[in-house]
Symmetry: C2
Subunit: 193 residues, 2 copies
DNA sequence: TAATTTGCCTAATTCGATTAGGCAAATGCA
DNA sequence: TGCATTTGCCTAATCGAATTAGGCAAATTA
């Protein structure tokens, strides 16, 4: 991190450090300027490794999406039904609580090109895999996938924004009960309005 | 908007214009500089009316929260049960679709001081009011409140990020079926795990 | 060791946010 | 109506972030 000779910058290293920086100070504040400061180099030096600030953010987002997909897929492996549902949900939430900056990055608006190379597909596939343990035909399955995605992302988002802190009952309690309720709902999904 | 004499700046007018600007170019891009451009004044001139950029954003957020609470409370008035649930949800989603920038503003992280004077309390009260039509005792009621908040904010967030666009089935279909499923879930909420 | 590549630097530009201080237009008061 | 005061927007200036161009030295290759 000093200034003797070369700092050993790499796109890879910048992105990893950027992700850590995001967890420490927030994704918004994970700027090229701050990142350069951490490496003990001038901001301009980053531009041989990342195209610009947006490129840096995009790469951090892609990293976060991969990591999240890895964690979730590990957690879900070998499980089915409610077990798989809670494993998925907990892995997702844990990642967000442990890596708030990365998680924010994972929600960064990607341009179509970047989105195509992202782990978004894996996420979609995994969510759908959860429903294998429940008996849901299309189009209900898609509706259910969207519900799950909404609940997870919504809950974790609100929790991260401080929505449930310092209030009774505990957030963990709500989370458990909500997962239980979702399990019941998926097993008795109404197929007519 | 010209430069003859005075522009008639007001905190009120800046915030309203800021909200419109946010809907047009995104909340992130709703900056003092851009706002000043729209009014045909120098950026520095805004600083007699708002403390700084953060203050401007906070005020836009507070406006959005009020508007959203107004829309929802109007929609919910005189309804109960599933009727109230869908009215609430649709008002919420409509606001987000019609005013994406304001909706993003409503999620802006407020400092405790601002949060206290916000319509956040109204939102909480209204969500809880929905559940009056369902028979849910504490602490289940709180868990259900959190679920509803998560689903609405999560779904609308994903939809706004383009999560459900260009895919089958239609987002509107999923939304309707999800609301139906939530109604069923609330009526049969599992009180034991 | 010489040649080449590569990495980080300096220099310079542009733009947004912010503060200080000034002048003229609007307003209040005799 | 005329003067004093307030108020609103301006100019000027600073600071910091993002970005580009071009240079020199260190690392790599031959």
């Amino acid at each position: 991190m000093a200034q003797a000779g070369r700092a050993g910058l790499t796109t890879e290293r910048l992105v990893r450090a950027g992700a850590e920086l995001a967890d420490e100070v927030g994704f918004e504040q994970a700027t090229p300027a701050e990142l350069a400061r951490r490496f003990g180099v001038r901001t301009a030096s980053l531009y041989s490794h990342v195209r610009n600030a947006h490129d840096l953010r995009t790469r951090i987002a892609l990293l976060a999406l991969e990591e999240l997909a890895d964690q979730v897929s590990t957690a879900v492996a070998g499980r089915a039904g409610k077990d798989a549902l809670t494993a998925f949900a907990n892995a997702y939430r844990d990642y967000a609580l442990t890596h708030p900056g990365r998680f924010a990055a994972a929600r960064y608006r990607l341009d179509p090109e970047a989105a195509a190379t992202s782990a978004g597909v894996r996420h979609a596939r995994m969510t759908r895999a959860i429903l294998r343990g429940y008996d849901l035909a299309e189009p209900h399955q898609t509706h259910a996938v969207r519900l799950l995605g909404s609940v997870f992302s919504g809950y974790v988002g609100l929790e991260g924004a401080g929505g449930f802190s310092h209030s009774v009952p505990d957030s963990q309690e709500s989370w458990s009960e909500i997962l239980n309720a979702l399990d019941v709902l998926l097993r008795t999904w109404p197929t007519t309005s």
